[in-house]
């Protein structure tokens, strides 16, 4: 089936089987391997990308469902000059990653939350609830929480 995906501002015209998940198509057809597929059953959140402004699991979404949609992946965060996104700089500064497998998912989860709902940085309970969406097995969640607060400009 022929679909069009706009990924990080670039238009991709693709011919995909309906059974293929968005995450697999981003990695294999678009060559964007920054999105990590972990559990492939919606639990770990490593594959989180932003589709039309909302963070979603790219393992539980068929690529054909996204025909005509705008997708953002971790590759789209840095500026054109390669300057990391403020959230990426904050993850580095707060040591919010170690092995890095979960990091693209956490970055996309956080960027969508901060852009659509900046007040979440002022609500510790909601931010904590947001961070239960994804799994991290190295640093734990506290440095990730601090990085998001730092990127949001909170002391």
């Amino acid at each position: 089936m022929n679909i069009t995906l706009t990924v990080n501002g670039r238009v991709h015209r693709l011919d995909v089987e309906p059974r293929r998940a968005l995450g697999d198509v981003l990695r294999e057809d678009c060559g964007l391997t920054g999105t990590h597929l972990g559990c492939e059953q919606g639990v770990c959140g490593s594959c989180t990308v932003v589709v039309d402004g909302r963070a979603v699991r790219s393992c539980l979404l068929l690529a054909v469902q996204c025909d005509g949609c705008s997708v953002r992946t971790v590759e789209g965060l840095a500026g054109r000059d390669g300057e990391p996104h403020p959230l990426q700089r904050a993850f580095s500064a707060e040591h919010a990653l170690q092995c890095g497998f979960c990091t693209p998912g956490f970055l996309m989860l956080a960027v969508a939350a901060l852009e659509s709902d900046p007040a979440i940085a002022d609500d510790p309970e909601r931010l904590r609830e947001l961070l239960t969406s994804n799994l991290c097995r190295c640093t734990g969640y506290e440095p990730i929480r601090r990085a998001i607060m730092r990127a949001a400009g909170r002391p």
Binding site: E40, Q41, G42, R57, L60, L62, V64, Q65, E129
Partner: protein, 317 residues
């Protein structure tokens, strides 16, 4: 694992969707949010030959208040219920307290209330609310539309009144007036797990006396159930004086208190729990009793906190 191959269509209208279902029947599946369906297809426990993606059907994403009810279209996502302003009064509070128990934000961005009812997992939160409030579920097939009350809708795990040739087009939840206090209480083993038991309560209290009670239970049987015997035991109960006792908020809710009594009835009479790998039937009953007791306390407290909003209820204590 990856899903097996299937044909995929994207109807533009409900008519086209049910037309496809009429021909494919049990070989087809409706795709709305897909947060359960795609997982099951990945595990190859669900092998549809045709997937009917209704996400582009116009009008199914509507959410509106009309004729004393909240009409929820088949494409309304879980996240729409995160604000208590989704519906006026106690219903909005109940829905917003329920939805935070459903998975987490990225799943709630896609999953739908109607899809949850269609999937009919016994532990699903919306099942407890739909049965507790006796929602109406609108089913559409090529032959026409029929409305099924939630108490007739669920037949068992993943089995419902909805025929393979039909789809849910909307769910209607009754509005609750300001004399009603609401609560939703859930226990699960981990933050990401399914409900071990969940309880939805709507309690009408006038002058400290319970005049009506709705109690919906999830994962307390092979399908969501309404605790009707427990509800009956509460009618006429006076909670005005004893409710101020803080001890009833803890596990010390005694059988002598109307809430403790109702909780025990719900657990022993209304619930029909199935043994789980990590909890036998007796333990599940105990969880039901504790959670129903907590939910009733919270509903009474909610009623008290919002007393006087309609002018007439006033200080019911």
């Amino acid at each position: 694992m990856k899903p097996a191959a299937f044909d995929y269509i994207v109807p533009g209208t409900v008519g086209e969707a049910v037309g496809a279902l009429a021909e494919a029947g049990e070989r087809a599946r409706i795709l709305a949010g897909g947060q359960s369906l795609i997982l099951e297809m990945r595990c190859r426990r669900c092998l549809p030959e045709l997937v009917v993606d209704i996400n582009r059907v116009q009008g199914l994403d509507q959410l509106r208040v009309e004729d004393g009810g909240l009409q929820v279209g088949a494409l309304v996502r879980h996240r729409a219920f995160e604000s208590p302003r989704v519906a006026p009064g106690p219903l909005g509070r109940l829905l917003s307290r329920t939805v935070v128990n459903i998975a987490h934000p990225p799943i709630r961005a896609l999953g739908t209330m109607a899809g949850s009812l269609a999937w009919a997992h016994p532990a699903a939160e919306w099942g407890a609310v739909a049965v507790g409030l006796d929602a109406d579920i609108e089913l559409r097939g090529r032959a026409g539309t029929r409305t099924v009350a939630a108490h007739d809708y669920f037949h068992g795990p993943h089995r419902t009144e909805c025929r393979p040739q039909e789809m849910i087009t909307s769910v209607r939840l009754p509005l609750l007036d300001d004399t009603v206090g609401v609560a939703f209480v859930e226990h699960r083993r981990t933050r990401a797990g399914f409900a071990q038991v969940a309880v939805a309560v709507a309690l009408t209290v006038l002058d400290g006396v319970i005049t009506q009670a709705f109690i919906g239970l999830a994962n307390a049987a092979d399908r969501p159930v309404r605790a009707q015997v427990a509800e009956l035991s509460l009618i006429g109960a006076e909670i005005g004086s004893s409710f101020s006792d803080p001890v009833i908020f803890g596990s010390a809710l005694s059988d002598g208190h109307p809430f403790g009594h109702a909780a025990r009835i719900a657990a022993e009479g209304d619930a029909d729990p199935c043994a789980q790998p990590y909890a036998d039937v007796e333990y599940q009953r105990q969880v039901v009793a504790v959670l129903v007791g907590r939910a009733l306390c919270q509903a009474a407290s909610d009623r008290q906190a919002h007393a006087g909003h309609d002018g007439s209820a006033g200080e019911w204590r």
